[in-house]
């Protein structure tokens, strides 16, 4: 049974490690760097698209064509660029 006791202590140590690692969030950077590259590229496009769609919907509600679609296109672009800056800052902090 010595083998099993040994396993139990190792399990305890592993559990402690798991709790500690949740406190200080350290990501494994290897596979996530390509993932965040995918994230950034689509996020930029999606923000602009969603902004434009919101502008289009609001335009047809308030009958103000084409002003809101223009304004919200720029809002979407700003949101997309800000998001990229935010993500880049987060990535720099990690390093």
């Amino acid at each position: 049974m010595a083998n099993l006791d040994d396993f139990k202590t190792r399990l305890k140590i592993a559990k402690k490690k798991l709790i500690n690692s949740s406190e200080n969030k350290d990501n494994n950077r290897n596979s996530s760097s390509m993932g965040s590259a995918f994230k950034l590229s689509t996020d930029l496009v999606a923000h602009v698209a969603v902004g434009t769609i919101i502008g289009f919907i609001l335009d047809s509600w308030f009958d103000t064509k084409p002003w809101l679609i223009i304004i919200f296109f720029f809002f979407g672009s700003i949101a997309g660029i800000l998001n990229v800056i935010k993500t880049a800052k987060k990535m720099q902090e990690k390093e």
């Binding site: 596979s31 993932g35 999606a46 902004g51 949101a79």
Partner: protein
């Protein structure tokens, strides 16, 4: 017909036509491959957890590998508060991964290359995260749209931008997976078509490209499942631990 690179994405009916209240509910090739991946996941995990040995066998090793991978990912990105959502994220990751990987087999159908499938999953995640956020924080969840430390003049502008950025989550989540899968599979088929049209003399170059692209596509299939799951964790983190 078979040389058309978009032909592989066609959804067709298998078996009898089933119509309930005007909605077509027939069994299609898409449903078949969803079923296959669900059965494959259940089979793998059943085999992996059947014999619980201290020294794991092949299937147990794979299952434990997946379990550890997701558990660590949730812990790292969303903290220990997100533990109750482990089953959801685990099944989400496994389903997307198996759909992507099964799509890499010749003559198979890639479920995730259809935007309706990925958009439905993304909208479900979006609604679920929003509901969780409101349940945990009440109307305080709306603070997510009002970041602290912003001058009052800029606040309306920032709020609009934050709302756009929140609403674009399901769009970017679904479009990323769908576009990557569809583009990759179309590219493979196009290069395959080049091999046939260039023949024995010139076909070797696109053939070597095809081999390299297949490797890349397997990487992308895994990576997209990973990104899908990790972004769900990040959104969950926003809902559980309000930082703004």
């Amino acid at each position: 017909m078979a040389t058309n690179p978009m032909h592989q994405f066609q959804v067709y009916r298998i078996g009898p036509e089933i119509k309930i209240a005007g909605i077509d509910l027939s069994f299609t090739n898409a449903s078949l491959f969803m079923l296959i991946s669900a059965v494959a996941i259940c089979g793998l995990l059943f085999l992996g957890t059947k014999e619980k040995k201290i020294i794991p066998g092949k299937f147990q090793l794979i299952s434990e590998l997946f379990y550890n991978f997701i558990a660590k990912m949730i812990n790292d990105t969303a903290g220990s508060k997100a533990k109750p959502y482990f089953p959801f994220i685990f099944s989400l990751f496994m389903f997307v991964l198996f759909c992507n990987m099964l799509g890499m087999l010749p003559y198979s159908f890639t479920v995730t290359s259809h935007i309706i499938v990925t958009l439905l999953m993304a909208i479900f995640i979006f609604v679920a995260v929003t509901v969780i956020g409101f349940l945990k924080h009440g109307f305080g969840y709306l603070k997510l749209f009002v970041p602290s430390g912003v001058p009052a003049v800029l606040l309306p502008l920032i709020t609009v931008i934050e709302i756009i950025s929140y609403l674009s989550r399901p769009v970017s989540l679904s479009v990323r997976l769908f576009a990557n899968m569809m583009a990759g599979h179309t590219m493979l088929k196009v290069f395959g078509g080049f091999v046939i049209s260039l023949g024995v003399l010139g076909g070797w170059l696109p053939l070597s490209f095809s081999v390299a692209l297949t490797g890349l596509e397997i990487l992308v299939a895994f990576l997209q499942a990973y990104v899908f799951a990790i972004l769900t964790c990040i959104y969950l983190n926003d809902a559980l631990n309000l930082h703004h």
